[in-house]
């Protein structure tokens, strides 16, 4: 029974991936890409990798799907047909050969790892020193913390890149209003946004707190917050802030800066990103909460896009 489920799931993953690659219409490709991401999430769930499943569905399928749909709308507005055109046979064969070679290399590397030598055996004995139970959080925030620290700055860099695309004269304005233009649609979306935003906040705060001992964490929670902010923005419940607001800038850099400061302070305790004994959990939770806020706001603004001219009506809520 489980085998049949796994088999069907694998076939559906390969099928949705193939359709997303080969279909000519961009919107159909995006729809199948989102379905593919959700099915991949199920597969990770089947492998007991709940943290990865959450991240795959929230970020891989959710945020990326929204970004792709918006990118297509932008292409259409610019006069691009947003359909794939045929490429030369030689190029396609070359891409096929390169991808096949990469798959063989990757498979060889993964299959060469003996099943009993997983990271879990190395990490498990070190966990009691941290005071948290979730080993993924342990790796992300303690044993390989510099990866996460760099990631948080990369995300900030991505927003700077998007902002640098602002047309001349629009800086430092607001992004284009994500609110729906049609009044009845705006009311429907607004009612939903008013309900969803507080729930998303509670849910996200819980995901960070649970992330110490159960699946969850700053990235998953940040995506939930970004989703709540965007839905509220679409219904006009909140307005998007202008990109030079001090409060907004503070929210964007808070997580990375607190992370960096705690990491540097670790030098006193023995090295960069080393937590003093007994304080590990408190510091990890502090980093996760500040990081969650920054990730949520950054993701929402990434989707909102660069500042646009003429999008400067007064902001009802002060901050996005």
């Amino acid at each position: 029974m489980t085998f049949a489920f796994d088999l069907i799931l694998c076939l559906m993953i390969l099928g949705t991936a193939a359709i997303a690659l080969f279909v000519r219409d961009a919107l159909a490709a995006i729809a199948f890409f989102i379905a593919f991401g959700n099915l991949m999430g199920l597969a990770w769930l089947g492998l007991d990798a709940v943290n990865v499943a959450l991240a795959e569905i929230a970020i891989g399928a959710g945020v990326t799907g929204v970004l792709l749909i918006l990118a297509r709308a932008r292409l259409l507005a610019l006069g691009d047909a947003a359909t794939s055109t045929g490429s030369p046979l030689l190029l396609r064969l070359g891409a096929l050969a390169a991808c096949a070679g990469f798959v063989v290399l990757l498979a060889a590397a993964v299959l060469s790892i003996p099943p009993e030598s997983g990271l879990d055996r190395v990490v498990a004995p070190l966990m009691p020193g941290l005071g948290i139970e979730n080993r993924v959080t342990g790796v992300l925030l303690a044993f390989r913390a510099y990866d996460t620290l760099l990631e948080s700055f990369v995300l900030l860099g991505a927003l700077v890149a998007v902002w640098s695309l602002a047309p001349a004269g629009a800086w430092p304005g607001r992004p284009a209003d994500p609110g729906m233009a049609d009044a009845p649609m705006r009311r429907v979306a607004g009612t939903f946004g008013q309900l969803l935003l507080p729930v998303a906040l509670v849910m996200a705060a819980y995901l960070v707190w649970a992330g110490s001992d159960l699946p969850g964490g700053a990235f998953q929670a940040g995506t939930v917050l970004a989703g709540g902010l965007l839905v509220a923005g679409m219904g006009g419940t909140i307005g998007l802030p202008s990109s030079d607001q001090p409060l907004l800038r503070a929210a964007l850099v808070l997580g990375p800066v607190v992370f960096l400061a705690i990491g540097l302070a670790g030098v006193a305790a023995g090295g960069l990103l080393v937590y003093p004994a007994g304080l590990a959990k408190a510091l990890i939770v502090t980093i996760e909460y500040t990081l969650f806020l920054s990730i949520g706001v950054t993701l929402a603004l990434l989707v909102a896009g660069p500042p646009m001219p003429g999008a400067s009506d007064p902001d009802p809520e002060g901050k996005g």
């Binding site: 049609d182 429907v188 009612t191 309900l195 729930v199």
Partner: protein, 108 residues
């Protein structure tokens, strides 16, 4: 097989029947409004029955409460998006009618 297993199986089967009917309607119905009608049946009743089966199978009140919340938010989200889709479809239809009756027959 206990009575609980039987109930779970029956609820799952009924839920899947609603999903199948909803998918069939989505594929076969002629316009957006009737397709949405088919899909919302699947979302409301199909998901409700499957969630009820999962809640009984979970066997604890805490699990059942969480599943009930998931169902509730799925229903609210589905209701919101179907309203938005229906409104959008109606606006598009009105625009097409305008384009047909316009003297130059132009689009948009």
């Amino acid at each position: 097989m206990s009575w609980i297993d039987l109930a779970v199986l029956a609820l799952l089967g009924a839920g899947l029947a609603f999903y199948a009917a909803g998918s069939l309607g989505f594929l076969r119905f002629p316009d957006t409004a009737s397709r949405l009608h088919a899909l919302t049946k699947a979302d409301n009743l199909g998901l409700g029955l499957v969630a009820l089966a999962a809640a009984i199978y979970g066997g604890s009140l805490a699990v059942a409460a969480k599943i009930a919340l998931v169902w509730l938010f799925a229903v609210i989200a589905a209701g919101t998006t179907s309203q938005l889709l229906a409104r959008r479809a109606r606006l598009d239809e009105a625009r097409l009618d305008d384009a047909d009756s316009a003297p130059d027959g132009g689009l948009r």
